[in-house]
């Protein structure tokens, strides 16, 4: 459990991202906060467009120029957002690195895989070619790829191997925090399971804190200890996996869980009626209220605040009391 008394390795405080779109603003992320210690694994789930990837991109400083970031991202207590791009740069890949969505696209097709894994090493460590090559072999070995494969081109790798290589690349500079943005999309289930296992092992072995982004709650549950559910740019619930799955407190979480198909269950999959709100106008009240089965009058007027409930945080006026299964 993450009830350690030491200061967290990474702390995101009240992160907000607004995009300037001709004539208005799009509030992509609002008031996202979480903390990670070494070896902590946090999953972030939510439907498309809920701001999961935007959070990750903000942490890497990769948002387009029309994005405005507010809040703090503290790495060992130092706000890396404060000094703009120049204060972010030394941390990139050395402290916080990332596995991109779609490993095929994360490699330049005209350069060898080893060459590209070596890039951050040579860039940040000023390592010689030979040292970098040794490190590449070590990294590939760690993710289960024969070192001789380093001289191959990305198209000569299978989808799973490419994803492993992308992971090796992310670990090249020994980061403290690893962000994985849907690392298992477009992979078949067996390879997907291998990659999930590998992510767990790497985080345990190297003491890396992991943020795992996915829309696949079961996949997230296999890897992380805690899960945060995002809806319309906000974190609506964050709790340990077991507790979130067995006793969801936010109605959206409960609806998400109900929407997971279960092979042997007789019940049909329940979808959530309606659509997520538009993010280019300020949301009044709870963003989920129009689709919420248990919405009360207060939900449409005031936005719920984050309520800490033991080891969970939930943002709902009528959250189901802890421990009571819905």
């Amino acid at each position: 459990m993450t009830t350690s008394v030491t200061a967290p390795l990474l702390e995101v405080r009240d992160l907000g991202v607004d995009f300037d779109i001709g004539g208005g603003q799009l509030h992509a992320v609002r008031g996202v906060s979480f903390a990670l210690h070494a070896r902590d694994r946090l999953g972030i789930v939510g439907e498309s467009g809920c701001g999961k990837s935007t959070v990750v991109l903000a942490m890497m400083g990769l948002l387009p120029p029309n994005a405005e970031v507010s809040g703090q991202i503290l790495l060992n207590g130092v706000d890396i957002l404060a000094g703009g791009d120049s204060s972010m740069r030394p941390h990139r890949w050395c402290d916080i690195s990332m596995v991109f969505q779609g490993a095929m696209n994360a490699f330049n097709p005209v350069r060898t895989v080893g060459d590209q894994i070596a890039e951050p090493i040579r860039m940040h460590r000023k390592a010689s070619r030979r040292d970098a090559d040794d490190r590449v072999a070590e990294l590939l070995d760690m993710v289960g790829i024969p070192a001789a494969r380093a001289a191959r081109y990305p198209h000569e790798f299978s989808g799973g191997m490419r994803q492993r290589a992308a992971l090796a690349m992310a670990l090249a500079c020994g980061p403290k925090v690893l962000l994985a943005d849907e690392p298992t999309t477009a992979l078949d289930v067996i390879v997907q399971a291998e990659i999930l296992q590998l992510l767990r092992r790497v985080s345990d072995d190297l003491g890396v804190a992991l943020v795992f982004i996915s829309h696949d709650l079961p996949a997230v549950a296999q890897v992380t200890e805690r899960v945060a559910v995002m809806y319309a740019g906000r974190m609506v619930e964050e709790a340990p996996v077991a507790r979130l799955v067995s006793a969801p407190r936010h109605p959206y979480t409960a609806a998400l869980l109900a929407a997971i198909p279960r092979p042997r269950a007789a019940a049909t999959v329940r979808s959530i009626p309606g659509e997520p709100p538009r993010l280019d106008t300020p949301v009044v009240g709870c963003a989920f209220a129009p689709r919420c089965p248990s919405a009360a009058e207060v939900c449409r007027i005031t936005e719920p605040t984050n309520t800490v409930d033991g080891d969970a945080v939930v943002a709902c006026h009528c959250a189901t009391p802890a421990g009571l299964p819905r």
Binding site: N105, V110, E119, G144, H155, S158, R164
Partner: protein
């Protein structure tokens, strides 16, 4: 060995060396064009050896028909046509190559900068490019020749300055598309400088296109040099195909029925321009897989058999 159920996919995605080789040998059209250009290059290099007489050796009988001593006859001034033709090849090829390189360097630099940095840089560079695109090229060349003097160097620079704009547009578009790819974002996430991203990741992807475009530009440049010389604005101290045609016109070769004076330089220009165009277009075909699809190809019309209900194989 990691056993992966999806296995190795035999997709022939381009490798760097592979692309370079494919660019030159991947298309029969390219090979034919480059071979023809090679023949002209050899002739130009060996001009002093091949030419039956030195270029400025005059003979008395103007418009003498071809004989064994003068395989292409004599022109109105009594000069050996074959000698002038092979020496003219030197000028034409040199101007074509250098002017195309000038255009490639300027157009490439502008295109890479505009495409990569975007925003205001792109805006400023593209407005300048637009300006060069709308300047009518022949009047510009005439003015430049008149103002800066009729030297070969000036002609090469002027032709390069006229033709860089379209290259810049092309390269910019390609760079913008590469820039959007995830691997560029990934390298930026590593904290790489723009120069690193450009030289290591963007340039290798776009260079084959730049090369193909430059070969096409050689054809334009040779043609431009020919008409500049024909208009009498070429370097008077060197022989060129355009000047041969101009001399023939001045001396009334057509009226005199001396076809051997007019035809060789005209044919030579046509063949060189054709060879460069064929080579360049062949390279374009190799690089652009869309051109291989029948209904998308601009030049090669081929109806491919449809597979399956939606025409997908």
């Amino acid at each position: 060995m990691v056993a992966s159920p999806s296995g190795e996919r035999a997709v022939s995605a381009p490798t760097r060396r592979g692309t370079a080789r494919r660019l030159v040998t991947g298309n029969r059209q390219t090979v034919a064009g480059l071979c023809a250009l090679g023949v002209f290059a050899v002739v130009a290099l060996l001009a002093p050896v091949i030419a039956p007489t030195p270029v400025n050796t005059g003979f008395s009988n103007g418009f003498a028909a071809p004989t064994a001593a003068h395989p292409l006859g004599l022109d109105g001034g009594g000069f050996d046509v074959l000698s002038r033709l092979v020496h003219g090849a030197q000028t034409s090829l040199l101007v074509g190559l250098i002017a195309a390189l000038v255009g490639m360097v300027i157009g490439g630099t502008v295109g890479f900068a505009a495409g990569y940095f975007g925003g205001r840089t792109d805006g400023v560079l593209m407005r300048i490019t637009d300006y060069f695109l709308v300047i009518p090229d022949i009047p510009l060349m005439i003015v430049a020749a008149a103002v800066f003097g009729q030297s070969l160097t000036n002609i090469m620079i002027v032709i390069g300055l006229v033709y860089w704009a379209s290259t810049a547009r092309l390269i910019r578009a390609q760079v913008m598309s590469v820039r959007q790819r995830t691997f560029v974002t990934r390298v930026e996430a590593m904290g790489a400088s723009p120069l690193f991203v450009l030289t290591r990741h963007v340039v290798p992807q776009v260079t084959p296109l730049l090369v193909a475009n430059t070969v096409l530009m050689v054809a334009n440049a040779i043609f431009a040099e020919t008409y500049i010389s024909f208009l009498g604005l070429g370097d008077p101290s060197v022989m060129s195909w355009g000047r041969m045609i101009q001399d023939a016109l001045d001396q009334g070769a057509v009226v005199a029925g001396a076809w051997w004076v007019v035809l060789p330089p005209g044919l030579a220009v046509t063949l060189v321009v054709l060879a460069a165009t064929i080579a360049g277009q062949g390279m374009e075909d190799t690089l652009n897989p869309r051109l291989k699809v029948g209904h998308l190809a601009v030049r090669r019309f081929r109806v491919r058999p449809l597979h399956g209900a939606l025409g997908r194989p």
